[in-house]
């Protein structure tokens, strides 16, 4: 699974634009690099599969082609992805298996993100002993091996309980919020002493208002990134748990398909059409999310952009700091973009090219 990369240092004024105008520009601030584009397309595809897959599947997941044979059939015109040992149609199972997996990961991401905002922002903004206690709490949760705890908790649970996507999602979220809380706390600490927050405090705005309207908008990219990370974690955890047979959902999911494939040693039997499609689906969703995360990291810190993403041919060398020009020096960004050829790519300009640049 993913190893988190915490790329956020304390915010420098250049990377966190002022709040109010940002709202107007938000649409144009997401750089549609190839990475983001590919990630989004794959993700939308799987979202559609999750919603409509079970409806368009030619057979129900439990449908069996015949009950006498026990040899998996290779892909053919009749069964697009072949069948497994019990003669279930793999194609139908793959189509139907995405819904629970994605739903659980989404629920887990949502709950974990809410928890991490609650704990991380409170710790960062309130400070003092509250910060101390909450930091210790999240550090402890970071050290706990989530998957193992889930195994210990879920093994004795009756199948009826492990069949409830919302419950599973919530339990996974309980082991997943700490990372986001820690990152959000660090960023809140950095934002707390920024001038605009200071001035809001001087004006006499109340704490909840400052947090919701001044601080949260600037945490959005980090929030999105930690949400995506949690969803990747949720998918990995849920698929691993059902692959291990710790939870056995009544309906077939990608994880349970891999579980039966493993138990009937499909791998060593050479029945690739049985285990490759579900594994590929899981991998593709994970990759799509990771690609999106790349894009968000580059929003948080524009300096991280890959040099390959701009076609202007600026070589990044020591002493040459690329700066995003999308912040638009008062000029309306829309008209500016309309004239520029590759409108979606912000132009890096040399900000500090003195010194040794060649």
């Amino acid at each position: 699974m993913a190893v988190p990369t915490e790329t956020t240092g304390p915010a420098t004024p250049g990377t966190t634009p002022a709040v109010k105008p940002a709202r107007l520009r938000r649409g144009s601030r997401i750089p549609l690099t190839p990475k983001v584009l590919v990630g989004a397309v794959i993700l939308i595809f799987f979202a559609l599969v999750a919603i409509f897959g079970p409806m368009v599947a030619p057979h129900s997941p439990d449908w069996q082609a015949n009950s006498t044979s026990s040899t998996p059939l290779p892909p053919s015109g009749k069964f697009l992805l072949g069948t497994d040992q019990q003669q279930h149609d793999i194609f139908s199972q793959v189509l139907a298996g995405g819904r629970d997996t994605l739903l659980i990961a989404f629920v887990a991401g949502l709950i974990a993100t809410c928890l991490s905002v609650l704990i991380g922002v409170t710790a960062g903004y309130v400070g003092g002993w509250v910060d101390e206690v909450l930091s210790i709490l999240s550090n402890i949760f970071l050290a706990l091996p989530g998957l193992l705890i889930l195994m210990v908790v879920m093994t004795p649970l009756p199948p009826a309980d492990t069949d409830n996507p919302l419950l599973i999602g919530a339990v996974i979220a309980l082991t997943a919020w700490a990372w986001g809380a820690r990152v959000l706390r660090a960023q809140t600490l950095a934002l707390r002493n920024q001038d605009y927050v200071e001035s809001a405090r001087v004006i006499g705005e109340r704490k909840p208002r400052i947090i919701v309207f001044e601080i949260l908008p600037n945490l959005l990219p980090i929030l999105a990134s930690s949400f995506i990370f949690t969803v990747i974690y949720g998918i990995g955890t849920y698929v691993s748990l059902s692959w291990l047979g710790v939870i056995s959902p009544a309906t077939s999911t990608w994880g349970t398909m891999l579980n039966t494939a493993q138990q009937d040693s499909a791998m060593l039997g050479g029945y690739w059409w049985w285990y490759v499609p579900p594994a590929l689906c899981v991998a593709l969703v994970g990759i799509a999310l990771a690609l999106l995360n790349f894009g968000i990291d580059e929003i948080i810190n524009p300096r991280l952009r890959s040099a390959r993403d701009n076609r202007k041919g600026v070589r990044y060398t020591l002493g040459l700091t690329p700066v995003l020009r999308t912040a638009g020096n008062g000029s309306p960004p829309r008209s500016h973009r309309a004239t520029a050829g590759s409108a979606d790519l912000p132009t890096p300009v040399a900000a500090a090219s003195e010194g040794k640049s060649k």
């Binding site: 190893v3 402890i140 050290a143 691993s240 991998a283 040099a307 390959r308 500090a352």
Partner: protein, 329 residues
């Protein structure tokens, strides 16, 4: 000094929290779940007395108060007693002491390999940002975003099954024709290393992307610092300038390691299951299959302590590398 004491205090607290969680986990489950579990155990080789002892241990129909149960539990723990495995009829600690070295060896060697290669690659990618490597970076996320067991299965089926590069099951040769004696002798060590290549490669591959990307991003940020510019302006050779930047960029990646170590350890557990590697990961899988709850709990505790120990090591490394961390005292 105070910083170190505070960190040590945190570890004591975290260890205590883990122990307490371990105690309350079976008690937080819905009441019928444990009954069902015990009923499942009844079918295996277990005497009624042992079953009764287990029911007491988990506070089922016990006359004692929860607090005194907790005290008994702590007392047992301090004597190094983690209970009896129900499926293997031996003390849990005995199983753990046999299996833990395998897991620590696997995670340790994989982490060192991933750290060295990943950091070096990250330095290169961060320094030469226009290079081809930078464009290949998204490919590294494949390993990062895919669940461990899929990556492990991929390596097993390619490197192990089809290409037959390395053995893909067990920790050493256990075949009929093998005449290995465990211990520090040449043939056994060779066999262990051969069997460890694929599992270690899985864990290393999965975590290497994190090191590369973390190091690259920190290099890019650090290279804008004035002292790097000064180093270059003084006319130092290229590699020395890189070393100046890299030394400072490496610090955050080490503190990031603390964030990811529990993911790496749980990942290695899954990897062990795929490769039937004789560590505690494979043991917990067997325990799940046998509904061996005492063993599962013992493993949970030991793994948490391992993660805390690795965190402590990262802390110490950080203090050694960063003079500021020492100065704060």
């Amino acid at each position: 000094m105070t910083t170190i004491l505070r960190r040590l205090g945190f570890y004591v607290l975290a260890a205590f929290a883990a122990v307490t969680l371990n105690f309350f986990l079976p008690r937080m489950l819905p009441g019928n779940a444990l009954q069902a579990l015990l009923a499942k155990m009844q079918t295996t080789t277990i005497t009624p007395q042992q079953l009764q002892a287990l029911a007491d241990q988990y506070g089922l129909n016990s006359k004692q108060s929860t607090f005194s149960q907790y005290m008994t539990y702590l007392g047992h723990l301090f004597q190094g007693d983690l209970g009896h495995s129900t499926s293997k009829s031996v003390a849990v600690t005995q199983i753990l002491s046999k299996d833990l070295p395998w897991t620590i060896g696997l995670v340790g060697s994989a982490t060192i390999v991933a750290f060295v290669i990943g950091t070096l690659l990250g330095i290169v990618v961060g320094w030469r940002r226009s290079g081809l490597l930078d464009a290949l970076l998204p490919a590294a996320t494949f390993f990062q975003a895919v669940p461990y067991f899929i990556l492990a299965s991929l390596l097993l089926i390619t490197g192990g099954f089809y290409w037959k590069l390395f053995p893909y099951a067990n920790g050493y040769d256990t075949g009929r024709n093998s005449n290995l004696t465990q211990g520090w002798n040449g043939p056994f060590v060779t066999s262990v290393v051969e069997h460890g290549v694929l599992p270690a490669a899985t864990v290393a591959l999965a975590s290497i992307a994190g090191w590369i990307i973390g190091m690259r991003n920190m290099m890019i940020t650090t290279m804008d610092e004035d002292y790097v510019l000064v180093a270059a302006a003084k006319g130092l050779p290229r590699w020395k300038v890189i070393a100046v930047a890299a030394r400072n960029a490496i610090l955050p990646t080490i503190s990031n390691f603390a964030l990811s170590i529990s993911l790496v350890v749980t990942g290695s557990i899954v990897t062990e299951i795929v490769f039937s590697y004789p560590g505690i990961g494979y043991q917990v899988y067997l325990a799940v299959l046998d509904a061996d709850y005492p063993l599962m709990q013992g493993i949970l505790l030991v793994v948490t302590f391992t993660v805390l120990g690795a965190n402590l090591l990262a802390d110490i490394a950080y203090v050694i590398l960063d003079p500021r961390a020492r100065k704060e005292a």
